[in-house]
């Protein structure tokens, strides 16, 4: 029997108080995610239960019980307090998927500070704009990434502490740097948990938009209420499960469902900090007897590419439930997973801003391959007519995905950007920025984004950010960045470039531009295709018309070109 039981019954009788009761939370009381994910589980008698199996790329395994993560997060929290970090200060986590990342997440929350997780592959420019915007006070990182911090530190006077978790003692620390080696610290048995309330800020994740700089999505401790219940009902986690969420906690899936969801339920999870290969993933599932696996379409399509025969070489019989997130899961992938694993990957839809799953396929509910599923109980999800902002009643008609605000993990603002936050609402609805239709059975079907943001491998990339970085390259005069179809990543970044006088197209130039963006922004933002053009399509007022380039890439009608400069 699944945790959710009958979806229809849950919808009829739903109230978020179901989650509040299970978590023992009463309105107005203290609610601290760090405590809920460690101390509370120990108080339930699960101190010795394994919370985390962590395997690094060398094969080294580190194991932590719930008592271990309680102590480690206490120790990290205490260390931060001694440095002068206070409640609501922003503490950035800039690490690979090492145990310190997971443990620091809880430690920061326990002292009431705000966690700002950032993807460790970000280049120095991406790192800078996010730290600058958040006014970050401390950053916890590894020595392999500290070089990027050193490059930008002069521009960040408010960044007071650079904490290195694996400092090489043979080398001197530089300005504002401090070494912190968890294994050498005396574990702190008792830490005063900061009395955060429902509305206290907890996590600040950055997400990319079409225009302007990335936006800091601010969540609060009360988000636990919906993250806990969606984990329980959609991921169907149970006490004896071994859970594997493949997402990186630099992104929201890796925190909402790679830390908060499983640990607030006291469930054992495992983490593989190793580059992708189909064989190593299957080996990992076999070795840890993974039962619930939450992954992403890009990874699933890469597994499909590796072939069916490889699957047969491993004992994957422990798997009992699979789910996917990040971008629409194509019907072929659902059908393939049912064929090779005997289980379909169930698609889930949500965003950094929503903090928890909003539309999902549920255990026990009929799966329509390629569909996003139905709104989570308690979530009022619709598609709106783009002109009237009224819900569309007619099945199959495409509109804007929208939700009635009020669920617990809804973002509370964009950091320092209330105006952009307000723009996300219309006629009383939160606009997700995606388009979909709803069929006569109530299933949602994804169509595409409603803006120019590129979803590559489940990560959002802002064309504006890439274009801004491109023109800093010495050879680039102008650029326009759009998505291009890709079999594995759904979309990849493509750049159209005009060169400055005196520069010519050659092999070295293409590589130079690619690597320039990779290092400055991130590998995700690196154009995987560059097309050199004499000029870019512009409106008469000089604005680049990305949509024309986008339409060409996707083989779509280019639409109205009456405002085009040369028309």
């Amino acid at each position: 029997m699944s945790n959710i039981g009958s979806y229809e019954e849950r919808v009829k009788n739903f109230d978020w108080s179901i989650s509040e009761k299970e978590l023992g939370y009463k309105k107005g009381a203290v609610i601290n995610i760090g405590w809920y994910c460690s101390d509370r589980i120990c108080e339930q008698g699960k101190s010795d239960k394994v919370a985390l199996y962590h395997e690094g790329f060398t094969g080294e395994v580190r194991k932590y019980t719930f008592n271990d993560i309680r102590l480690a997060s206490n120790t990290i929290g205490n260390f931060l307090k001694k440095l002068g970090v206070r409640d609501q200060d922003r503490v950035c986590l800039f690490m690979d998927k090492i145990p310190e990342l997971y443990l620091s997440f809880l430690g920061v929350l326990k002292i009431g500070a705000i966690v700002q997780p950032l993807f460790s592959a970000f280049g120095d420019e991406s790192l800078y704009v996010r730290l600058e915007n958040a006014g970050t006070k401390a950053i916890i990182t590894q020595r392999k990434h500290v070089g990027k911090v050193r490059k930008i530190i002069d521009k960040l006077p408010g960044l007071r502490h650079i904490i290195i978790v694996d400092h090489n003692e043979a080398k001197p620390l530089q300005e504002r740097e401090v070494a912190f080696n968890l294994t050498k610290e005396e574990p702190v048995e008792k830490l005063e948990i900061f009395p955060t309330r429902a509305e206290s800020p907890s996590v600040l994740h950055y997400t990319s938009g079409t225009t302007g700089q990335p936006k800091g999505v601010r969540h609060v401790h009360y988000s636990l209420i919906s993250q806990y219940l969606t984990t329980k009902w959609v991921l169907d986690l149970k006490d004896d499960d071994i859970y594997w969420c493949t997402a990186d906690p630099g992104w929201v899936t890796g925190t909402s469902y790679g830390i908060i969801g499983p640990w607030s339920m006291g469930v054992t999870q495992c983490v593989l900090d190793k580059g992708f290969s189909a064989e190593s993933w299957y080996k990992f599932i076999e070795k840890y007897r993974v039962t619930m696996w939450y992954s992403a379409p890009t990874a699933i399509r890469s597994l499909m590419k590796a072939g069916d025969e490889l699957v047969k070489k491993f004992d994957l019989s422990s798997l009992r439930h699979l789910a996917s997130v990040g971008e629409p899961l194509n019907a072929e992938a659902v059908i393939w997973s049912e064929k090779v694993f005997g289980l379909p990957f169930l698609d889930t839809y949500w965003q950094t801003e929503t903090g928890c799953m909003m539309i999902s396929n549920y255990p026990g509910m009929k799966v329509k391959p390629g569909s996003m599923g139905k709104p989570f109980p308690g979530i009022s999800g619709v598609v709106l007519d783009p002109n009237t902002c009224q819900p569309i009643e007619e099945p199959g008609r495409v509109g804007l995905i929208a939700f009635k605000p009020g669920w617990p993990s809804m973002m509370t603002t964009y950091w320092n950007n209330e105006e952009k936050y307000r723009e996300k609402f219309s006629n009383g609805w939160y606009l997700a920025g995606d388009r979909a239709s709803i069929d006569s059975d109530g299933y949602f079907w994804f169509i595409g984004r409603d803006d120019d943001v590129i979803n590559t491998g489940g990560h959002l990339v802002s064309p504006f950010e890439v274009e801004s970085a491109l023109i800093e390259h010495e050879a680039v005069a102008e650029s326009a960045v759009v998505s291009k179809p890709d079999q594995v990543n759904m979309e990849v970044v493509k750049a159209f470039i005009t060169l400055k006088p005196g520069y010519e197209v050659n092999d070295d130039l293409e590589l130079s531009i690619m690597n320039f963006i990779r290092k400055k922004l991130s590998p995700l933002a690196m154009p995987q295709d560059i097309e050199y053009v004499d000029s870019l399509p512009k409106t008469r007022s000089g604005k680049i018309m990305r949509r024309i380039l986008h339409a060409k890439e996707w083989g779509e009608d280019i639409g109205d070109t009456s405002t085009l400069e040369d028309e």
Binding site: A121, K171, G275, E279, L511, P523
Partner: protein, 83 residues
């Protein structure tokens, strides 16, 4: 042969090594150790194609084939021999 190996190794060190304490050798795992991620593999592939004037089909550019300098050189040599 050595020239190709060193060329590839130097490129990998210059472009992908972030921590100077890390040692990258001909056999160091590149993909599985996280030195090169799947997105960055694209620029590595472009480097190889341009430098050696070869074309590596996407299905051959797998994480396994790119997982060390030695493996990359084997792959490149295979294409050079066909020329």
């Amino acid at each position: 042969m050595e020239d190709i190996k060193d060329l590839v190794l130097n490129y990998v060190i210059n472009e992908y090594q972030e921590d100077e304490d890390d040692e990258i050798t001909y056999d160091t795992p590149l993909i599985s150790s996280g030195f090169v991620d799947s997105f960055s593999m694209v620029s590595l592939k472009v480097f190889l194609e341009k430098k050696f004037n070869i074309s590596i089909p996407d299905e051959e550019a797998t994480p396994e084939a790119f997982d060390s300098v030695n493996k990359i050189v084997d792959l490149v040599n295979g294409y050079l021999e066909k020329k």
